[in-house]
Symmetry: C2
Subunit: 204 residues, 2 copies
DNA sequence: ATCCCTATTGGCCTCACGGGCGATATCTTG
DNA sequence: CAAGATATCGCCCGTGAGGCCAATAGGGAT
């Protein structure tokens, strides 16, 4: 199993190397510090699985993910994240990730995930899957594309009029989108919406 | 040098162990997964240096830091963070951390920091120190305690009247604080203030 | 082909927000 | 002691924000 590790923290890369070092069948063929480097690497060095961190400077893991699967459909991607926020997980899985494990997971869990994915399956860590299934929880992370656009611009401090101009729609429409964002996130003000958006990884 | 590692991500703990494993003089005597566990550990197991992650569930690193220094003045603390945001760094140093290194730093940098701190000095990683000295940059992260209170409540979606009641002050005063928050963060709306606050680690 | 749901678009109305400007008491710091 | 930062409160005022209601287009379900 040829593996490539992509994470901007060298401490994490070393940890992964260490965790997987005694597994004969796992061969770490390369490491990347960000998404751009990873894509360059993949141009010359094929891999079976990419262990991909979500947060990286420049081209993030979530940015690189669709690009990888598009260019190299044979390559599986396992997301390695710190966050168990449903929004992150949903986005990653909808973008085509084959696995999702947390950085707090131990050696055995990680290896189980890699093996399952190598076999062609998918693996989502227990705690994460539980969060995902949570029925009572507000289904944060399910904003429409347009609503997401609006939320991003709101987080930049734009007022409705500016958002309207930026998106080429009327201010009234922006307000409707915002109202619907409020409903879905269960908030009552744009400040809170931005807070929830950032905390759950919906934006930025 | 007796070292304790506190980080909620086992991948990171393994990475650190690995990085430091061939240094004879460094002895990793224990590991903790959060601040509470760390404080328990210290009750029975003394250490020279604690390598402390800022973000941990429950009792965070920044919560535990003053407590550690208070109870065990001999123990030095080196912060191990993902963030080079000046706000984080300032807070950590003002709370009495003896060192500050990033998770993206390599083996040599980490060891240099530990040695310097063990000698009784302080060590702040180059890139971090540079950010800190940045004169032109708005000095984000220097809100007064009261302003911070207000910002936190704003991020919860409270409107001025509610914040006023929560803090037991008048609405006019809340507005004054907010205005001053805007000035310092260089923003023009509460939504943007919350965004900046979260992104720079001032709140949450 | 019809019905339903969602996404997207829009107008009207009221109140909270934010700008401007000023004021007082405390506490640190030079 | 003077100077500056912190925390407190006030009034005015214009506009942006959020609540209420409505319409159109497209994708699925039966």
């Amino acid at each position: 199993m040829r593996l490539i590790i992509a994470d901007d923290h060298s401490v994490v890369r070393d940890g992964l190397r260490w965790m997987l070092s005694d597994r004969e069948e796992i061969d770490i063929v390369a490491e990347a510090e960000d998404g751009a480097q990873l894509l360059e690497l993949l141009a010359t060095q094929s891999a079976d699985i990419v262990l991909l961190d979500v947060r990286m400077p420049g081209v993030s893991g979530l940015d690189a993910l669709p690009e990888i699967l598009n260019r190299y459909p044979e390559t599986k991607v396992v997301i390695l994240s710190m966050h168990d926020e449903p929004a992150y997980v949903r986005r990653a899985l909808s973008l085509g990730a084959a696995g999702y494990v947390l950085k707090s997971s131990g050696r055995s869990e990680l290896i189980r995930a890699l093996e399952e994915v190598a076999r062609g399956g998918t693996y989502v860590q227990g705690e994460v899957a539980a969060q995902l299934a949570e029925p009572g929880a507000v289904r944060v992370g399910e904003l429409s594309p347009r609503e997401l656009d609006v939320l991003v611009l709101m987080a930049r401090g734009m007022e409705n009029k500016q958002v309207a101009r930026a998106l080429g729609i009327s201010e009234a429409t922006v307000k409707t989108h915002i109202k619907s964002i409020f409903e879905r996130l269960g908030v009552r003000s744009r400040a809170e919406a931005v807070a929830v958006g950032l905390r759950t990884g919906l934006i930025e």
